[in-house]
């Protein structure tokens, strides 16, 4: 009586850690670059824009007069206007 020989494929037994590293390291680098990019475009660039926008139309005289009338300065008293 003959029967066909059935057997499972030999499992992979070597290079498992290397395979894991080859899978995870590119993801690690990609994630870290994405985190840096998120910080740059979510925090750094908005902060630079905020300062540029603040000073673009900043009227120092008007702000000084507002602060003067609020009475916060020691060297100048409010005019009362």
């Amino acid at each position: 009586m003959s029967y066909s020989k059935m057997s499972l494929a030999k499992p992979v037994m070597r290079g498992l850690l290397g395979k894991r590293l080859r899978f995870h390291l590119p993801i690690a680098f990609a994630l870290s670059l994405m985190a840096a990019a998120a910080f740059k475009f979510g925090v750094t660039e908005p902060r630079k824009r905020a300062y540029a926008d603040f000073y673009k139309n900043y009227d120092a005289t008007k702000e000084f007069n507002n602060m003067r009338e609020a009475g916060i300065f020691e060297s100048v008293r409010p005019t009362g206007k």
């Binding site: 690690a28 740059k40 750094t44 120092a60 005289t61 702000e63 300065f73 060297s75």
Partner: protein, 230 residues
């Protein structure tokens, strides 16, 4: 001044402090990059039983993890050195003020033209007016003209102190027998607060600094008035 639950720096009130803010953001971005990479690798390595007992060396990875950190360090060093030299520039200041630390108050001397000098003591909490800040207000403020390069010569009469105003990006040690120079330009008018930053005895926490930036005309009127009162 600082506000409750603040995490970052105070708003910049001088060009140098703005540069420092942006550099700090740049350095923090690099820190976040490295931290994310390391954290991911730690979790990936800790969450497996796989090991390789037979790894001896790898020239490729040695090259990568030598060159990459060197490049990152250069990316940090270049803007850092740029700001360092920027802060060292003292471009023809219009005014020189001496700030002298004592136990426990600051004294300011404006001696460019006349002999104007006064002491600056903290306002005690019980004497504060509504709207004033506890432990930060002084009876006499250091008044400077706004948007005008100002040189500060910092020294001390007794022990070490440190003259610091965070929103202007300044901290300079006050050393007895030594004159330390720093300079700043205020970008806008207002009040800028700071505190002594070198332990100097019992009332180290109670000798604050207040810089009042006003237009030149008002600065001149103030100094004339003070000289007349003296």
């Amino acid at each position: 001044m600082a506000h409750p639950s603040q995490l970052g720096f105070q708003d910049a009130a001088s060009p140098v402090m703005e540069e420092l803010l942006h550099f700090h953001d740049h350095a923090l971005m690099i820190v976040l990059l490295i931290s994310t990479l390391v954290l991911y690798i730690i979790v990936a390595m800790v969450s497996t039983k796989l090991t390789n007992k037979y790894i001896l060396d790898s020239q490729e990875i040695e090259i990568v993890w030598t060159i990459l950190p060197a490049v990152i360090l250069i990316l940090i060093a270049l803007p850092s050195l740029r700001i360092l030299y920027l802060m060292d520039e003292v471009n023809d200041p219009h005014l020189t003020i001496k700030a002298v630390g004592h136990q426990w108050y600051w004294s300011y001397e404006y001696t460019d033209y006349e002999e104007l000098a006064f002491d600056s003591y903290m306002v005690p909490t019980q004497d504060l007016l509504p709207g004033q800040f506890r432990l930060l207000e002084t009876d006499h403020r250091m008044v400077v003209p706004v948007e005008s390069p100002t040189r500060i010569l910092v020294s001390a009469e007794d022990v070490l102190h440190s003259w610091a105003v965070p929103s202007l990006g300044i901290k300079m040690d006050a050393v007895p027998g030594r004159l330390n120079q720093t300079a700043f330009i205020t970008s806008r008018p207002g009040l800028f607060y700071g505190q002594c930053s070198e332990i100097c005895g019992a009332n180290h926490s109670f000798m604050p600094i207040v810089v009042e930036a006003v237009p030149l005309k008002h600065f001149e009127e103030w100094s004339t008035l003070l000289l007349q009162d003296a």
